[in-house]
Symmetry: C2
Subunit: 152 residues, 2 copies
């Protein structure tokens, strides 16, 4: 069977907010951790890209530089990231995840995955595979190509 782009779009518009709302709620429910989704994503990106610049993070998340600066401020204030001068270009900033940041990131990831996995346990394995395949198709389509979401 086939589906039109419009029908597919309709489904995404209906279902995606439901899923993200659960993810967000579960992250905030982890009271010992308390990472919001964008905080989690920033931390995760810097963890995999040690020494990333602010604009690297902004581009990855699809946020404007000021928004990203604020986001990073919060993570710095909580001791989850450090911000150092970039060795060769003094305009730039070099971000790294602290040991505490890694602990928190891991705890948040594990808690959220456990919660989601529990909700998916009742789904047939084949159907789970379909979900995985669908996500893998969507990922490159919606991954950030460098422009902040409000770009002209």
């Amino acid at each position: 069977m086939a589906a039109s782009p419009e029908e597919t779009a309709r489904e995404l518009l209906e279902v995606t907010p439901l899923v993200l709302k659960e993810i967000r709620a579960e992250m905030r429910r982890q009271t010992s951790v308390e990472l919001g989704v964008p905080q989690f994503r920033s931390l995760n990106f810097v963890d995999k890209n040690q020494g990333a610049s602010l604009l690297d993070v902004a581009n990855h998340l699809g946020l404007t530089p000021p928004s990203t600066s604020r986001l990073v401020d919060g993570l710095l204030a909580r001791g989850l990231l450090t911000r150092q001068d970039h060795p060769s270009d003094r305009r730039r900033v070099s971000l790294t995840v602290t040991a505490k940041g890694q602990r928190i990131l891991e705890a948040s990831r594990k808690g959220t995955l456990t919660y989601l996995a529990a909700k998916l346990e009742g789904v047939e394995p084949n159907d789970r595979e379909s979900i995985v395949r669908a996500m893998k198709m969507l990922q490159p389509i919606f991954a950030n190509n460098g422009k902040p979401s409000g770009a002209k």
Copy 2:
């Protein structure tokens, strides 16, 4: 092939935020319309459930009553909703979408769907069908069961 609950969870956690970010950005980009995602969802719900109470909306969106009250305030202030006394129970409130609200809702929906559909045009029809099926599996799992997302 089969996928574990954990792997499925990992994919959802990675991809869902990307999709929702695009939806949100596109909605805000419609400068003549300017509905955020929760505003869109509220308006959409009341449109299909004329006379809904505040708690009906809150339960559907998975928000607390104060959050919903604020959200509705904004839509009232912009003339997209009306709030009247419920005929038989004077504690309750009866929400309806105005003509302007319906116009805005329709414009926002159409714009967002068109945008998403364009992004999905390059996907194989069969793959789109897979995405639709995945969304239909996820929907009941993540649909609101009446509790606000931060419930104890």
